[in-house]
C-alpha cells in the first residue's frame, strides 16, 4: 500500500520509501517522509491530484506519482 491509497482523514505509518528515481526518494526523506513517521491525508483537490498530506505538523502537497514512492 502507498500514500495514494489513504482515504481523507486516514493516518498511517510510513514503512519505507521506494522509487525508481532515487533523487525523489532522497528528496522526500529530506522533507521528513522517513520510516516510522505517521502521515494523514488531508485533501484531494478537484482533480484528485496533487494530494495534501499532514506530516510532522506541516501540510505538504505531493503529486500522485510522488506519493506512490512512499510505502505504508
Amino acid at each position: 500500500m502507498t500514500l495514494t491509497n489513504l482515504k481523507i482523514g486516514e493516518t498511517a505509518i510510513i514503512k519505507k520509501l521506494c522509487s525508481k528515481d532515487s533523487a525523489l526518494a532522497n528528496e522526500l526523506q529530506e522533507l521528513g517522509f522517513v520510516p516510522g513517521t505517521p502521515v494523514t491525508l488531508k485533501s484531494k483537490g478537484l482533480f484528485r491530484d496533487p494530494l495534501a498530506f499532514e506530516i510532522r505538523g506541516t501540510t505538504f502537497a505531493l503529486r500522485k506519482n510522488e506519493a506512490k514512492a512512499v510505502l505504508l
Binding site: L24, L31, G45, L46, R56, A61
Partner: protein, 642 residues
C-alpha cells in the same frame, strides 16, 4: 562590520524577523551564475547594533535538490560567510525543522537558534525544554513571538550577547560533513530526542478554512472568486493614483516649459527625459496594487493552496503548479514575475513558464488596449468595451496555454529530468502588513531598477530620432525626421497589418514601454491637424469639431482628440482610412503577444542564463504577433470587415 545571517525553512518566520530587524532600504544581492538573491540590510538604528543582516531563501535541508536550494547552499558556503547565523525554526514544527539546524551545527555554523511561533505553542499548552535543546544544538536558543512589539529588541540583545561570546572566533565551515548526514538517521534521532526530552503533543489545528479552500468544488469557486476580486480591485484602486502620477508629470512639463526658453534643451528635457520618466512611473500604481494583493494572498498562505489546486491542469500543458504565482505576477509586470519562476525545479517547465510570462496582460498594455477598445466599441454600448477587454485577457491566457502545449510537445522527449511538485502548504494566517508592504516594495523596485534605465535610454533615443535632422536650426517636422525615414523604410512591412509608416514608428517606439505607443500616435498624427500638411488634403472628411463639454478634463479631451484623429487619418495620397475595425483588431493581437519590452528581454537572459533563449523568445513572440496580426487583418478584410 559584523555580519549576521538568517537561515531557516520557508515558513519558519524568517522574513518576518528580517523585516522587524532591518531598516527599509534592503539591498538585493545577486550572485554570478546563480539564480538566487539574498536580501541585505543594516539593523534598524534604534537597536544600536552595528552589523549587517542577511536574509536567505527558505531551506528545508542543506542537501536539498532544487536549483534554488543548491544555489543558496553554495552561496552560504562560499560567498556569504557570516559571523553569526540565526537559525529560525517554528517551535511547533521541531520534528521537521530541526533537521536543518542539526546539519548547520555539524557543518560548523556558529548559531543562535530562534524558535518562533511561541504564541501557538503556548496556546496548545506545550512547554519546550530549552536547556536540553541548547545542549543538543550546542547553541543558545530563544523562544519568541513575532507579533510582540518587543521581539526585535529581545533578539538584538541575544545577537549582541552571542556575538560577544564568539568574539575572536572566525567562521570555518566544513561542507564535507554534509555527505555523512543521512536525513533518515537524523530524523530518527530527532524523533527520539523529542520523545524523550520534550513533551510536545502534535498540535491539532484542523481549521474549517482549509476544509473550504481545499474542497474539490468549493475550493474552485473560492479560487475564481479570489482571482476575480484581485483583478477588479486593480482597476478600482489604481485609477486615482494613476491620474495623480499623470498630473504630476503634466505639471513637471508645464513648469519646465514656463521656466526655460523654448529650444532644443527644453524639448529634450520635456519630451526626452520627463516623458521617459512618465512611462516608467505611470504603471507603478497598478504594479504596486497587484503586488500588494498578491503579497496578502501569499503571506496568508492562499497562493500555495491555489498552486496545488491548479497543478493538475498546468501539468497537462507542460507547466507546474509552481508556475502559477509567476504567471499571475505577469499580469502586473513580467520582470519580477520571471524572477518568481526560480522555485520551479524542472528546467523545461521553468523555461516554458518564462517563455509565456510576457504574454500575460501586464500593466503596460492597458493604455494601448483602453485606446483601441474605445476606438472600436460603439459609444452607445459601453458594455461592449468591458467585453472586449475581458476577451483580451482570455486571449492572452489562451495563447499562453497553446504556446506552453507546443513547447511541451516539441521538447518533452528530450527532457530527462523528472517533474517535481512537492509544495509545503503553510497554515492559513492573518497576513502581516509589514511583510506584505516590504515584499511589494521590493518587487516594485525590481521593476523600476530593471526597466527604468532602459526605458529612459530608449525614450531619449526616440526623441533624438524624431527631432533630428534639424533644418536651419529649427526642429524638423516629424514627417522629415530620422524616425520618419526609418518608418518609411519599414512601411512595406507594416502595411499588411493595415498600418502606415507612422503607425509603424509608433509600434517600434512601443519597445521602450508599450504605452509609449499611445503617446507616439499622438505625436505622429498630430501633423494632421495642421491644414498646410499635404496629408490632410487627402482627408475629404474634415476633422469633426469636438465640443469640449463641461466635466471633461484635459486628459480625457486628449484621448478624445486622438480618437477623432484616428477616425480621420488616411494613407498618404489616398482616402483609405488607416484605423479600421480590422486594423485595430490586428493591433490588439500584436500587442497581446509581441515581446515589446526590452527590459523583459534583459531579465529573460538573466533568468535563463542564455542569450539564445532570450533572443528566440524576443523574435519568436514578436514574429508570431506580426504574422498573426497580418493574417487577422487580411482575413477580416477578405470577409468584408473594413
Amino acid at each position: 562590520m559584523k555580519k549576521v545571517c538568517l537561515i531557516g525553512a520557508q515558513n519558519a518566520g524568517k522574513s518576518t524577523l528580517f523585516n522587524k530587524l532591518s531598516c527599509m532600504h534592503a539591498q538585493t544581492a545577486n550572485y554570478a551564475g546563480a539564480t538566487v538573491s539574498f536580501q541585505k540590510s543594516k539593523f534598524k538604528k534604534r537597536y544600536k547594533l552595528d552589523a549587517e543582516i542577511v536574509d536567505t531563501p527558505g531551506l528545508t535541508s542543506l542537501n536539498g535538490q532544487s536549483p534554488e536550494q543548491v544555489a543558496t547552499v553554495d552561496t552560504l558556503f562560499n560567498e556569504e560567510v557570516a559571523d553569526l547565523y540565526i537559525a529560525v525554526i517554528d517551535s511547533t514544527q521541531l520534528s521537521r525543522q530541526l533537521l536543518l539546524i542539526e546539519q548547520l551545527r555539524d557543518c560548523g555554523f556558529p548559531l543562535l537558534v530562534c524558535l518562533t511561533n511561541k504564541d501557538t505553542l503556548l496556546k496548545g499548552g506545550q512547554i519546550l525544554d530549552i536547556k536540553s535543546l541548547e545542549e543538543r544544538l550546542k547553541a543558545p536558543c530563544i523562544l519568541v513571538d513575532s507579533h510582540e512589539a518587543s521581539v526585535a529588541q529581545y533578539i538584538t540583545a541575544a545577537i549582541d550577547k552571542r556575538l560577544t561570546q564568539l568574539k575572536d572566533q572566525t567562521t570555518e565551515l566544513d561542507r564535507s560533513k554534509l555527505a555523512d548526514l543521512d536525513a533518515r538517521q537524523l530524523y530518527i534521532d530527532i524523533d527520539d530526542f523529542l520523545k524523550k526530552k520534550q513533551n510536545i503533543e502534535k498540535p491539532k489545528k484542523e481549521t474549517w478554512i482549509d476544509k473550504v479552500l481545499l474542497h474539490p468544488i468549493l475550493g474552485i469557486f473560492c479560487f475564481f472568486g479570489i482571482m476575480f476580486a484581485l483583478f477588479t480591485s486593480i482597476y478600482t484602486f489604481s485609477a486615482w493614483p494613476m491620474d495623480q502620477v499623470d498630473a504630476l508629470f503634466d505639471f513637471l512639463i508645464e513648469s519646465s516649459s514656463s521656466q526655460f526658453n523654448e529650444g532644443l534643451g527644453t524639448d529634450f528635457l520635456n519630451n526626452g527625459i520627463i516623458e521617459g520618466l512618465r512611462s516608467v512611473f505611470l504603471f507603478l500604481p497598478q504594479i504596486i496594487i497587484l503586488f500588494f494583493f498578491l503579497g496578502l494572498l501569499e503571506d496568508s498562505g492562499y497562493l500555495a493552496r491555489a498552486s496545488m489546486l491548479i497543478d493538475k491542469p498546468l501539468s497537462m500543458i507542460g507547466l507546474n503548479g509552481r508556475s502559477f504565482v509567476p504567471l499571475l505576477s505577469g499580469f502586473a509586470c513580467a520582470i519580477p514575475a520571471m524572477m518568481a519562476a526560480r522555485t520551479i525545479r524542472n528546467p523545461l517547465e521553468r523555461l516554458s513558464t518564462l517563455f509565456i510570462i510576457p504574454i500575460m496582460t501586464c500593466a503596460a498594455r492597458l493604455p494601448v488596449y483602453v485606446l483601441l477598445v474605445a476606438f472600436i466599441a460603439p459609444k452607445e454600448k459601453p458594455w461592449m468595451g468591458g467585453l472586449i477587454m475581458t476577451s483580451l485577457y482570455f486571449t492572452s491566457i489562451l495563447l499562453g496555454i497553446i504556446l506552453a502545449t507546443i513547447i511541451s510537445i516539441v521538447f518533452r522527449k528530450k527532457e530527462k529530468q523528472p517533474s517535481f511538485f512537492q509544495l509545503e502548504i503553510p497554515s492559513i494566517k492573518r497576513p502581516l502588513l509589514a511583510v506584505v508592504t516590504k515584499s511589494t516594495y521590493q518587487r516594485s523596485l525590481h521593476y523600476i531598477k530593471k526597466a527604468g534605465p532602459i526605458i529612459i535610454v530608449i525614450s531619449i533615443s526616440l526623441w533624438t530620432l524624431t527631432t533630428f535632422p534639424r533644418v536651419n536650426g529649427e526642429a524638423a517636422e516629424v514627417e522629415k525626421s530620422y524616425a520618419a525615414s526609418v518608418g518609411k523604410f519599414l512601411e512595406p512591412a507594416v502595411k499588411p497589418m493595415g498600418m502606415d509608416w507612422r503607425g509603424g514608428v509608433s509600434m517600434i517606439m512601443g519597445f521602450a514601454a508599450r504605452e509609449v505607443f499611445v503617446q507616439s500616435l499622438t505625436l505622429m498624427y498630430r501633423e494632421n491637424e495642421a491644414p498646410k500638411n499635404e496629408l490632410v488634403s487627402s482627408a475629404s472628411t474634415p476633422p469633426q469639431e469636438i465640443v469640449a463639454s463641461e466635466g471633461i478634463d484635459e486628459e480625457e479631451q486628449e484621448q478624445l482628440d486622438l480618437l477623432e484623429t484616428m477616425r480621420t487619418v488616411t494613407f498618404a495620397g489616398t482616402s483609405t482610412k488607416i484605423f479600421t475595425l480590422s486594423s485595430c483588431i490586428g493591433l490588439m493581437f500584436f500587442f497581446t503577444i509581441a515581446l515589446q519590452c526590452f527590459p523583459t528581454v534583459a531579465v529573460a537572459k538573466q533568468e535563463s542564463a542564455s542569450w539564445k533563449f532570450a533572443l528566440v523568445q524576443l523574435f519568436g513572440l514578436t514574429g508570431i504577433a506580426y504574422l498573426g496580426a497580418i493574417a487577422i487583418v487580411q482575413g477580416l478584410r477578405a470577409l468584408g470587415v473594413k
